[in-house]
Amino acid sequence: MDSWVISMMLGASLFLGAVALGAFLWAIKNGQFDDEEKFLNATKFDGEDELNDAVNQERKKEALKKDYRPE
C-alpha cells in the first residue's frame, strides 16, 4: 500500500517535471533563448501591435513563397 502511493507520487511528479523540461527543450531548439538580453526585454515590447506585426510578417512570407520562382 505504502509503496504504491510513493511510486504513484514519484511517477506523477516526474512526469509533470518531464513535460516542463520538454517544453523548455523545445524553446531552446526554437531559438527563443539565443539572445539573453532580447529575451528579457521582450516583455517591454509585448502588445497587440507586435502580435499583429508577427502575423502580417508570416502572411507576407506565405504570399511571397507562392509566387516566388527561383531562377
Binding site: 539572445d35 532580447k38 506585426d53 502580417n56 510578417q57 512570407k61 511571397l64 516566388y68
Partner: protein, 799 residues
C-alpha cells in the same frame, strides 16, 4: 539649467543657439532631423517613448555607395539562398544602444516590401535578414538601416559562427537535461540518505532506486555522450584523457547501481553518476561559451566591405571582382582607397602609406612608372595603374600563402592542466583496479571488492579537477575583455604566462604611426587662422597633425576662404588670399618656389611661407604611444627580454630604441626576416610573444608562441593574432601579461586544491570507509572551493 537642450532624436545635449528648430522639436544636426521625420512618416515614433532617454549616435551621411553590396562578388561571398528560395544575409548592425534600437531596426525592415524576416541579436548586434531578391536588392536594405541612423556591414557567418552556435545550443540542451535530472535525483537521494540513517524498508528503497535510475539514464547517455565521444577519440590516439575517466567511472557506477537495484541489497550510486556528468559538463560549457564570445568580438573587428576594384575598360570605369582582373588591366585607385593588386602607375601621382607592409612610417611619394604594391593604401593619390600580377600572385596573396606554412610551424606548448589530468586519469584507473584486486584477494566477496574499487573512481571524480582550469580561465578571459584584451583561446593564457621573450614591432605598435608636431619655430608672427585653413582641407597625415596642433595650442581660430587653393601631391599646398601667397609643405616645395631654407634635420619638416619668406617651421616625428617607456621598463622588470624589429630605416629605428632604452633591435627587415628571427629565438628554446599590427608582421605573429595584434590593425593581422588588444594601447599589453600570470597561478592553486582533496579522500576510499553521503558532500565541497577560489581574483584584481 542653462540653455542646454537635448536633441529630439539622439538626446545628446547642445547649446540651444546651435540647434535646428523644427516645429517645436530641436535637432543637433540635419541627420537627426532626417531620421526623426522618417520615423514619424513611417509611424514608428513610439521608438522615442521606448528608448526614453538613451543617448544615440547622431547619424552621419559619409557612407560609401551602397550599390557595392549588390555586386556579384559580394553576393557570392555573403549571401546565401535558404531552403524556401529566399536570400539570406548576416549583418552586424552598428550603433545599437538599447533594446528599442533593436525594435526599431526590426520594425523598419519588416515594413519593407520583400523583407521576410529580420532578426537582430541584442547581445552581439548580429542580424539575420531574409528577403526576396526579385522585389528588393540588398543595397536598399542597407540604405534603410543607414536612413534610420545605424550602419551595417556583412560578416561571414558560415564557418566559425554556425559551428559555435550549434555547439552552444547542443550544450544548452544537454545541460538542461542534466541539471533537471540531477536536481530531481538529489531530492530523491535525500530520502535515501534519511533512510540510510533511520532505517528504510527494502521495497521503498527499490522504488527510489528505480526512479533515480530512470532519471540518470538520459543524463549518462544523452548529456554524457560528449565524454564517450572524447574517450573514444582519446583511445584512438592512445591518450588516456579525463573523458575516459569520467566515462568509465560513470558507466561502471551506473551498471553497478542497476545490478544493486535488481538484487535489492546494498547502496545504489545513481546520484553520483548524474552529479559527475553534470559538473564536468558545466566545465566544458564554460569553455564553449568563452570561445563563442571571442568569435563574436572578432566578427565585429573584421569589417567586411566588398572587396572589389575599379577597372578602366573601354573608356568607362566599372567595378570588377578581384579574381577577374588580368595582367595588363588598368586599375583606378582614388585617394583614401586601398591598393589590392600589384602594378605600375601609368597616370597620376601622390603619396602612399606603406607602413603596414614595410613598417616605414613616412608616406612614400609615387609617380608614373613607379610600382604600387598590394596591401598599401593611397593617402592623396588618384592614379591609374596597370596590373602586373593577378590577384593570386600579388604580394598580399603570397603573404597569405606563406602564412599557412608559418602557422604550421607554430610550436605547441603542452598545457600543464591537460598533462596533469592525463596522468591523473591513468593513475586513478590503475588505483581503482588495484583496490579491486587487493580487496578480492584478501578475500572479500566480488560485490564488496567491486564496490570499493568503484568508490575510488567516484570519490576521485575529477569534478574539481575538471572545473579547476575552465573556471580560472573564464575569470581570466572576462578580466581580459573588461580591460580591452581578447584572448582567442583559453589555453593562450597559460602559454603567455610562460613567455620569456617579447618582440615588438615599431610602427603602429610602439609608435602611433602618425607624425606629430614636436617643435614649432616661429620666425615671423602671422595669423594662425591662415595656416589652419591651409591645412584643413588636406587629408595628408602631416597636414592633419598640424591642424590638430593648432587646434590644441591656439584659440580664436577662424576659417578663411582662399581665393585660390591647390594641393600638390607629396609636396604641399599653395593658396592665395587678398594678393598674398601662402605656401606650406616640404623642402622640395620650398626649393621649387625658390625659397631659401637654412634649417634642416633628419626628421620630417613642414615649412610655412608667406610671400616667399618662411615664417614658421614645424618638426614632426612619429611619436611613441602613451607611457611606452613605462611599459617597456615594466616588461624588463618582469624579466622579459625586450626586442624591437622593424622594416623602417636605421635612423627612425635607433631613435625609438634609444628613447625606450631597448638595446636589442633590428631594422630594415622584410616580413620573412621577422619570421626567421622568431624561429631563431625558438631554436634557443625561448617562448616568444610577438606584438605587431601590420601586414608585414603577420608571418612573425603566426610563428611566435603568442601573436598579439592591435585592434586597429589589418584584417589579416587580427585573424592571425592569438590575442587582440582592442584599444591599441601598450597598457593593455602589460595588463595582458598580468592577467595571464594571475590566471596561471590561479589554475595552479585550483589544481592544488583538487589534488590535496583527492590525496585525503582516495586512501579513505581504498580502505572502504567512504559512504555515499560523504562522497556526494565532499564532491560538492571541493568543486565549490575551486569556484570560490577563482572568483576571489575578481575582487583582488586592481589596476
Amino acid at each position: 539649467m542653462s540653455n542646454k537642450l537635448a536633441c529630439s532624436h539622439c538626446h545628446l545635449e547642445f547649446d540651444k543657439t546651435l540647434m535646428i528648430e523644427d516645429d517645436g522639436h530641436y535637432f543637433c544636426c540635419t541627420g537627426c532631423q532626417g531620421v526623426f521625420h522618417l520615423l514619424s512618416d513611417e509611424g514608428l515614433e513610439s521608438f522615442y517613448s521606448k528608448a526614453s532617454n538613451v543617448k544615440l549616435t547622431p547619424p552621419t551621411n559619409q557612407y560609401e555607395d551602397s550599390s557595392n553590396f549588390n555586386s556579384p562578388a559580394f553576393y557570392d561571398k555573403f549571401v546565401k539562398i535558404n531552403s524556401d528560395g529566399f536570400n539570406e544575409v548576416s549583418l552586424i548592425i552598428e550603433g545599437i544602444h538599447c533594446s528599442a534600437c533593436v525594435w526599431l531596426n526590426e520594425k523598419a525592415l519588416h515594413k519593407m516590401e520583400g523583407v521576410i524576416e529580420a532578426n537582430i541579436n541584442f547581445t552581439n548586434n548580429k542580424a539575420t535578414i531574409v528577403w526576396a531578391d526579385d522585389i528588393l536588392k540588398l543595397s536598399e536594405i542597407i540604405d534603410m538601416i543607414r536612413a534610420i541612423g545605424y550602419n551595417a556591414f556583412a560578416y561571414d557567418s558560415s564557418t566559425q559562427e554556425l559551428h559555435a552556435n550549434k555547439q552552444r545550443k547542443e550544450y544548452y540542451l544537454k545541460m538542461a537535461v542534466a541539471i533537471f535530472a540531477s536536481m530531481n535525483i538529489m531530492w530523491i537521494a535525500v530520502a535515501q540518505y534519511a533512510g540510510y540513517f533511520s532505517g528504510i524498508t527494502q521495497d521503498i528503497k527499490t522504488i527510489l532506486n528505480v526512479a533515480e535510475g530512470i532519471l540518470a539514464t538520459p543524463v549518462l547517455f544523452y548529456s554524457g555522450w560528449v565524454f564517450f565521444r572524447g574517450a573514444y577519440y582519446g583511445l584512438k590516439t592512445k591518450v588516456v584523457n579525463m573523458d575516459l575517466l569520467v566515462a568509465t567511472g560513470a558507466l561502471s557506477t551506473y551498471f553497478y547501481s542497476i545490478y544493486i537495484t535488481f538484487k535489492e541489497q546494498g547502496e545504489a550510486y545513481f546520484d553520483s553518476v548524474s552529479m559527475i556528468i553534470t559538473f564536468v559538463l558545466i566545465g566544458k560549457f564554460l569553455e564553449v561559451l568563452s570561445k563563442k564570445n571571442a568569435a563574436d568580438t572578432l566578427d565585429v573587428l573584421s569589417k567586411n566591405i566588398p572587396n572589389e576594384v575599379n577597372v578602366f575598360k573601354n573608356n568607362i570605369v566599372e567595378l570588377c571582382k578581384l579574381s577577374d582582373v588580368h595582367v595588363g588591366d588598368i586599375v583606378v585607385v582614388s585617394s583614401g582607397e586601398r591598393v589590392l593588386l600589384d602594378g605600375e602607375i601609368i597616370k597620376g601621382d601622390g603619396s602612399f602609406d606603406e607602413s603596414s607592409l614595410t613598417g616605414e612610417s613616412d608616406p612614400v611619394y609615387k609617380t608614373i612608372s613607379d610600382k604600387v604594391v598590394s596591401g598599401t593604401s593611397s593617402i592623396d593619390a588618384d592614379i591609374h595603374f596597370r596590373a602586373t600580377k593577378d590577384f593570386e600572385h600579388s604580394t598580399l596573396s603570397s603573404l597569405v600563402t606563406l602564412l599557412e606554412s608559418a602557422i604550421n610551424k607554430k610550436p605547441k606548448i603542452q598545457q600543464m592542466a591537460n598533462r596533469l589530468s592525463e596522468h591523473f586519469s591513468s593513475a586513478i584507473l590503475m588505483l581503482s583496479f588495484l583496490t579491486f584486486f587487493i580487496w578480492w584477494l584478501l578475500p572479500h566477496s566480488f560485490e564488496t571488492s567491486f564496490m570499493v574499487g568503484i568508490s575510488v573512481i567516484i570519490i576521485a571524480c575529477p569534478c574539481a579537477l575538471a572545473l579547476a582550469t575552465p573556471v580560472a580561465t573564464l575569470v581570466g578571459l572576462s578580466l581580459g575583455v573588461k580591460n580591452g584584451i581578447l584572448f582567442k583561446e583559453a589555453a593562450q593564457l597559460e602559454t603567455m604566462a610562460k613567455a620569456d621573450t617579447i618582440v615588438l614591432d615599431k610602427t603602429g605598435t610602439l609608435t602611433i604611426a602618425k607624425p606629430e608636431v614636436i617643435s614649432e619655430t616661429i620666425i615671423d608672427e602671422f595669423d594662425k587662422s591662415i595656416l589652419y585653413s591651409l591645412v584643413k582641407s588636406s587629408n595628408h597625415p602631416i597636414a592633419s597633425s598640424i591642424k590638430k596642433y593648432i587646434e590644441s595650442n591656439y584659440k580664436n581660430i577662424n576659417e578663411i576662404n582662399f581665393d585660390e587653393y591647390k594641393q600638390s601631391p607629396a609636396l604641399g599646398i599653395n593658396a592665395k588670399y587678398h594678393n598674398n601667397i601662402f605656401i606650406g609643405g616640404n623642402l622640395k616645395l620650398m626649393h621649387k618656389h625658390n625659397i631659401k631654407i637654412d634649417f634642416i634635420t633628419e626628421n620630417t619638416i613642414f615649412y610655412f611661407a608667406i610671400n616667399g619668406k618662411v615664417v614658421a617651421i614645424y618638426e614632426l616625428v612619429d611619436k611613441l604611444k602613451d607611457k611606452a617607456k613605462d611599459i617597456i621598463d615594466h616588461l624588463k622588470i618582469r624579466g622579459l627580454d625586450v626586442i624591437m624589429l622593424t622594416g623602417d630605416n636605421k635612423h627612425s629605428a635607433s631613435l625609438v630604441a634609444s628613447e625606450l632604452e631597448i638595446s636589442n633591435f633590428m631594422y630594415e627587415l622584410s616580413p620573412e626576416d621577422k619570421a626567421n628571427y622568431i624561429s631563431s629565438l625558438h631554436e634557443k628554446n625561448k617562448t616568444v610573444v610577438m606584438v605587431g599590427d601590420g601586414i608585414n608582421d603577420i608571418l612573425a605573429l603566426a610563428r611566435a608562441d603568442i601573436g598579439i595584434s592591435m585592434g586597429n590593425g589589418n584584417d589579416i593581422t587580427i585573424d592571425v593574432g592569438d590575442v587582440i588588444l582592442l584599444n591599441n594601447s601598450l597598457k593593455s599589453l602589460e595588463d595582458a601579461l598580468k592577467i595571464s600570470k594571475t590566471t596561471f597561478s590561479l589554475i595552479k592553486q585550483n589544481l592544488f586544491i583538487s589534488l590535496v582533496y583527492n590525496a585525503i579522500t582516495i586512501p579513505l576510499a581504498m580502505a572502504g570507509y567512504v559512504i555515499p553521503l560523504v562522497a556526494a558532500i565532499s564532491m560538492s565541497v571541493s568543486s565549490l572551493l575551486v569556484v570560490g577560489n577563482s572568483l576571489r581574483i575578481r575582487y583582488k584584481w586592481r589596476h
